[in-house]
Subunit: 485 residues, 2 copies
Amino acid sequence: MARKAGIIGGGVIGGGWAARFLLNGWDVAVYDPDPEAPRKVGEVLANARASLPALSDGPLPTEGKLSFVSSVSEAVQGAHYIQESVGERLDLKHRVLAQIQQAAPLETPIGSSTSGFKPSQLQENAANPGVIFVAHPFNPVYLLPLAEVVPSPRSTPAVIDAAKEILREIGMFPLHVRKEIDAHIADRFLEAVWREALWLVKDGIATTEEIDEAIRMGFGLRWGQMGLFETYRVAGGEAGMKHFMAQFGPCLQWPWTKLTDVPEFTDELVDLIAGQSDAQSGHYTIRELERIRDRNLIGFLRVLKERNWGAGMVLLEHDARRRAALPEPVVGEGPMDCARMTVLPGWIDYNGHMTESRYLFAASETSDAFLRHIGADIAYVGTGFSYYTAETHIMHLGEAKLGDALTGTVQVIHADEKRLHIFIRILKEGAAVATLEQMLLHVDMAAGKACAAPENILARLVPIAKAHAELPRPEAAGRHVGQRK
Amino acid sequence: MARKAGIIGGGVIGGGWAARFLLNGWDVAVYDPDPEAPRKVGEVLANARASLPALSDGPLPTEGKLSFVSSVSEAVQGAHYIQESVGERLDLKHRVLAQIQQAAPLETPIGSSTSGFKPSQLQENAANPGVIFVAHPFNPVYLLPLAEVVPSPRSTPAVIDAAKEILREIGMFPLHVRKEIDAHIADRFLEAVWREALWLVKDGIATTEEIDEAIRMGFGLRWGQMGLFETYRVAGGEAGMKHFMAQFGPCLQWPWTKLTDVPEFTDELVDLIAGQSDAQSGHYTIRELERIRDRNLIGFLRVLKERNWGAGMVLLEHDARRRAALPEPVVGEGPMDCARMTVLPGWIDYNGHMTESRYLFAASETSDAFLRHIGADIAYVGTGFSYYTAETHIMHLGEAKLGDALTGTVQVIHADEKRLHIFIRILKEGAAVATLEQMLLHVDMAAGKACAAPENILARLVPIAKAHAELPRPEAAGRHVGQRK
């Protein structure tokens, strides 16, 4: 049975939490007194549905059930995890936390999305302070992995561990902040940059647009994959971190930032910035900007996933976690069901259709899964042997579009020691959008020529080939391009 | 004839400038008294050669000639652009700039890579102050587009314009900083974050690794594509920028950052940070980290390029600039030479070989270029008609690896009103690594069925088909999978 998350506060952040839990198979109960909350959460959820699946390379769990409830206690009763995302006022948070603790199960972790308050502040006067902690996420919550998890000395370590495990399960990266501090870690940087940016605009040095360009054309790209210190370590070159620090340490004493004062937050400054921001981005609606941002983030995250680096490692671990729970493909009555895929944004062309080469990509995913099943996996390739595709014939029979769920099946037409002749169907709702006939050869990669596959692989392959010999031969097998039916 | 860039200072930054100019077809003369400079510049250039071409979707210009010279005057004589990247000391920069101006052409722009000095400081006592300005790049200079261009009131506007045009030509994004200020724009943010990070490490709140995770798992990803203000505009949701500012404005007065003081830069602090950085990243060499960083950045930049967003727009404009200078494919004696491609990092598998589906991708690039040539381009598809691939036969004949230059050719086997039967060769050094036989149908997309192509397309297609009818029929045409030779 699906577990339940109680979400208190249904704004951009609460909605993001709701979406992340739902798309990871949790039931979610949202409480927010705002009558607009269902619409707002619905819009965040629509964005999440359009993007989060693109980060996964396996089937998603069935989406959980979303309900909007009319009280805090209804939202948190029987919940396995509770997240508070109400306004940034300590008195309000105290009141909501007290309401939560009147109805929540005693051991259920209660995370707060607070940007700045310390957990010990949140715990003041609480009935059960040990389960209250900070779980500070970053917008969009359904895509960015970071959650700063901040306990206080009064927090129960087992509850914090359980909370971190839950956050990992929903694909997040819980960063354990060992000493509580105002604004945790990330927001201290955001605040320092924000203050400096306000000065630059106020003093007429740069517009909001120029400041954004100064970030995204340069160091922003670096920080998305290495952060601050590792970037500087590389910049230090061979001489390393000490050299870098010796070079730039003295600058701290130079007038490179506004150190000693805070710009006065006047209406004029607000108007100046809001006006510049309109000029910069006003030709897009917020919804459009959200979709642009999400597509960009998916792209970045998939790049990192391909490279098993940074946030991409989180995605790979999340896939592995899910895959461990999936059944292996089994030899059954018909062709083998080897791969489940979703048509991702990077797979479609300017027409919104799956681009031609992605049909072959989907077939490769399918045959790779088949090869893993017979023991010709990455570890086997590491020993210097592999199956290479020598020849392929593709029939394009239908169209796949963004978000379509595809299944790849394999039917073995013939297999001997060296040759593996297969027929792959790429199915959408049970009908083939493409079929691919392939001849693979087992090769000695160093010698660069075909050789017999080893016993252990043949022992797995031959029974499948025998079972499949009973299947009707696909009509398109043996066909050449342009052949009449 | 290639133009000449004079590069003074051959460290990581000077080497990056040299690489960017060379790979964009400029000759480069480097002066650096360090006898190690040729090796150091060589290593930066090797990194650049392994990565910069992956950002381009057209053929690169022929690489320029690199020379190491023994004096400043030799480096700058006859130069069309000069860049100074010596150490961050004003007296040293004054001395070098004076030497440059003794030998440089009078109108040649002289950019300085200074992180912090204002152009008016650099111009002090200069013979020809109007041509001196700041061109502040970001490491790695060969990949990141940003160059902060900062003139002073004494700068000659025409020289600044010429410099910006040159920077665009070598694929950069010149951000014109309208008012000079210490540390320009981006480094003011870097300095604010650096100071805050030093405090966090010094106070034992977080390690260098935790700080990097706090950045790259969250806001770093956002900043790589939108920067600060546009990100916050989206975060403000429907209520917009003013709402966001009202919500977070008051925080400026809260103790979220260390406002009033600078951490003392003691040996202990340096040791603490260097030690933590070793623990975090010491299992990689700097060279390895550079390659990891470059691959990640290429991935991010290509994502943005696919989406025509931010830094990706700079890349697309750079491609368009180059493409405008290339000849159209012409009908000649043999198959038509339609596409030139480079095997990109995203095209290779864990073995370093071009992944199977990318052969079909390369063929699509080739057939797309052919279709554009006969008038079936994106604008035509916008009218509701297109050529769809119905069937493909692929022969895998060789292997392409990262960085290989590929050529795609098209031979028309048969063409009539509805059908287009083509044979594509993907060539590496003149030999086919794959051949693809394809049947394309001209379709009415709304009706979802084949229909006759219009006169203007047939008028371009038929003469090619007639010319190609004289060519020998490819051996692999008409072949089915597994057919004996």
